[in-house]
């Protein structure tokens, strides 16, 4: 339970920093600390993401960083993909989905390291957060 709360907090921090939902931490957190299977962990993660993204968006919008028109288009245009993704997830076995998710984590980690190492030293003037 404490573990779940800590990982939730950490997921929120990375969501704010990286502009993601935090699902890459929610899902393993729900599996490890609350004993959910992969399907339930993924579905529950999606629900947990919503308030995080709302609050993060509100904050970022006040900093003037949100391009509202594009965000709305992206969101609305995602509906077919999201429905297809969920349907596919539910058609796959939990074991396969879990291994695929682990693969996703490694790819995201590699991408993050690459972006961080490439950008951080190159643009000191652009400063904060640009390293991500």
């Amino acid at each position: 339970m404490i573990g779940a709360i800590v990982i939730g907090l950490a997921a929120g921090v990375v969501a704010g920093l990286l502009g993601v939902g935090g699902g890459v931490l929610f899902v393993p957190g729900l599996v490890f600390f609350l004993g959910l299977d992969q399907h339930h962990a993924e579905a529950t993660s999606l629900l947990a993401i919503i308030p995080v993204a709302i609050v993060g968006t509100y904050r970022q919008d006040r900093y003037g960083n949100v391009r509202r028109h594009d965000a709305l288009l992206l969101g609305l245009l995602s509906v077919a993909g999201a429905a297809g993704g969920v349907t596919l997830a539910n058609a796959l076995s939990g074991a396969f989905l879990r291994d695929a998710f682990a693969g996703l984590l490694v790819i995201v980690a590699a991408q993050l390291v690459r972006r961080t190492l490439r950008r951080a030293p190159a643009r000191p003037g652009e400063g904060a957060g640009a390293g991500l």
Binding site: G8, L9, A10, G12, V13, V14, A15, G16, L18, G19, V20, G22, G23, V24, F26, P28, L30, V31, F32, H39, A43, T44, S45, L47, A48, I49, I50, P51, V52, A53, Q60, D61, N65, V66, D70, L72, L73, L74, S78, V79, A82, A83, V86, T87, A89, A100, F101, L104, L105, V106, A109, A110, L112, R115, T116, E126, G127, G129, A130, L132
Partner: protein
Amino acid sequence: MHVVADTSPQRGLRLMAIGTLAGLFSGLFGVGGGSVIVPLLVLWLGYGERAATATSLAAIVFIAGFATAVQGLYGNVNLLDALLVGVPAIGGVLIGTSLQQRMQTRSIALLFAAVLVASAVELVLR
């Protein structure tokens, strides 16, 4: 600086491709899709890093909303467990967004990458 009113077909197609791909990722893996959206906004639409992360969060509200609704139809969503991780995450996102405005967050990103790899190993070994 950015031409918000640019509605060229190419730009629209790129947004559609990013939205669809992010939705697919979101639904398949239970994530927001930001790890797809942020790099593609930077690469394809010339976004700066901060505008990309901010716009991604806003899009994720819709994406996660749609995906949650469909997962709800399958009966997979646990409300209480979502609150248990989601409520502390609201505090976390306030910290994360304000950190992003004022500091170099390189070491946090690298730490996060390490946590992801460790989680991946743990998941596979389970």
